[in-house]
């Protein structure tokens, strides 16, 4: 088995993705922290159970707390949460797809195979973004 070629120095795609992975990782921490703190301020401690709170923390979509019986009009739905979900989706899906590419390309040495894998991953990336944004955009009162 042959590994992929060693990365080149400079402002390359690989370097930019390396940087993006770190920034999006911190961004996902930010989204989760804002989500969980706001949920506790909105009364999550007495209104919803721990599993529901954690689902909200990962992805602040009203569908994640609707079953808990909270009054969604008290701040659980709105533009702020759509922006937070959008950040979680863009950071999360791109982070995940690049990670998948990173792992796969460690086992690929032929440029042709790498091209096929990259096209498939870009298609998956678009599909996940489309599917997730249909959920985000429909999350209104």
């Amino acid at each position: 088995m042959q590994s992929r070629p060693a990365p080149q120095p400079g402002l390359t795609f690989e370097y930019l993705m390396w940087l993006f992975i770190r920034i999006s990782g911190l961004g996902l921490y930010l989204v989760a922290l804002v989500g969980v703190i706001a949920a506790l301020v909105m009364g999550a401690r007495t209104q919803i159970d721990m599993g529901t709170l954690i689902r909200w923390t990962f992805f602040p979509n009203s569908g994640h707390v609707a079953n808990a019986g909270v009054d969604l009009e008290l701040g659980w739905v709105g533009l702020l949460w759509q922006v937070m979900q959008g950040m979680a989706v863009v950071f999360g899906v791109t982070h995940g797809m690049n990670g998948l590419r990173n792992i796969l390309e460690d086992f690929i040495s032929k440029p042709g195979t790498r091209l096929i894998v990259r096209v498939i991953i870009i298609l998956l990336w678009v599909l996940f973004l489309y599917a997730a944004f249909t959920l985000v955009l429909s999350d209104t009162l």
Binding site: S3, A6, R22, Y29, G63, G92, G96, L100, A131, L135
Partner: protein, 124 residues
């Protein structure tokens, strides 16, 4: 810059990297786990409510939650370690100690999560 890096799978197994290598390996495995589980969750809920409910039933089971919580918590804590070591490269001198500190954070957090998940699962 380009070097010969032809290392076979079996040579890879013989490489005894210790703690940092285990963290690297678990980071990849947990990353794939998150991509698969979160991807299925998004697709099932966006495109098909019935398949979505069937998959959610699996995702709600306590055995599955033990697995996905391991993936998410480990990936998050290990990722934070990588970011911190990358931001302050001087700390790389202590990278093996960083692995121990990382497990010191991971084990209690995962233990609390596991106790809650299992006790809720056994209670029905």
């Amino acid at each position: 810059m380009a070097r010969e890096r032809n290392v076979g799978v079996f040579d890879g197994f013989l490489y005894r990297g210790g703690g940092p290598m285990l963290a690297w390996l678990l980071h990849r495995i947990s990353g794939i786990g998150i991509v698969v589980f979160v991807g299925l969750h998004i697709l099932a809920n966006a495109f098909n409510g019935q398949i979505g409910s069937a998959i959610n039933a699996i995702f709600m089971s306590w055995a599955f939650q033990l697995l996905i919580f391991f993936c998410v918590i480990f990936h998050a804590i290990n990722g934070l370690r990588i970011i911190i070591l990358d931001l302050w490269p001087a700390l790389l001198e202590h990278q093996r100690e960083a692995i121990w500190i990382e497990w010191g954070f991971f084990l209690p957090i995962y233990a609390i999560a596991a106790i809650v998940i299992i006790s809720k699962g056994l209670a029905g």
